[in-house]
Symmetry: C2
Subunit: 129 residues, 2 copies
DNA sequence: TAATGTGTGCTTATCAATATATACAGGAGC
DNA sequence: GCTCCTGTATATATTGATAAGCACACATTA
């Protein structure tokens, strides 16, 4: 199974953290179902063009959070998915991004109106794709 | 002069990078004017509760970009401000944030309508402050 | 059932980037 | 001169990222 993770080369956010955040999101939102066998660390590393160690760290961190279960010689599986706070989690993710957008806009002195216009315009462009 | 830089402790973005990005933005957008004497590295470091070295790195990087000029014993000044691409720069900053918001929304399966509603709601809340 | 092949994850050794504390050195002003 | 402000250099710890090889699990097959 292929896991849709996007690496942003130019970001200052550490590689392992980008992968970890996105994979966690995929699991918690249910886009990668409970019981799923994830790609092996080698396969995933080759896919993302990074080191095996980096993937291992991601799997290990998420295992410590209780989202994954790893067995040597076998692979890494998705375990628990708490569907209760799934919607809440999703909203948090988006709200976080909205807040950082507002910060950015304020930092360069964009008014709420200008910002709203820019968001609307971008949304329209996206829909046309 | 006090420089309004906000450190996000919980972010994975390196400290020096957070400071650098925000200070660059303040200079390029003209919120910190050409000729301004910035706080000394010690003063700034104390303000942000970080190491002197970290501030020095920021000043040095921005000096290499041509935005600052440093003289030992005297301090660090804002030099050039290219007002030509100021508006363009501002828009880029905001657009970048809009894009990452769209990414976040898509990654958790938020529809454009839901997203727009959330943005509007947040903007309204902000205005009431 | 023992041997082996090929897939897993794991360990070690290493390097680069980030961040720090502490001590050094130059300029301004009394 | 001295003193007190600047930035600068050195040495060190911590974290992020890598390569190469070790160890376990399981299926195949002699």
């Amino acid at each position: 199974m292929r896991i849709p993770v996007q690496i942003n080369e130019s970001s200052a956010e550490p590689l392992y953290h980008q992968i970890e955040t996105q994979l966690r999101s995929l699991i918690v939102t249910g886009q990668v179902a409970e019981g799923t066998l994830l790609p092996s660390i080698r396969e995933f590393a080759a896919d993302l063009k990074c080191s095996v160690i980096t993937i291992r760290r991601v799997y290990q961190d998420l295992e410590n959070e209780g989202l994954l279960r790893t067995r040597q010689g076998t692979g890494t599986f998705v375990t628990r998915v708490d569907t209760d706070d799934r919607e809440e989690y999703k909203k948090q993710i988006v709200l976080e991004a909205v807040r950082s957008l507002l910060d950015a806009a304020r930092s360069v002195g964009y008014s709420p109106e200008e910002l709203k216009a820019l968001v609307d315009e971008t949304l329209r462009k996206e829909e046309r794709k």
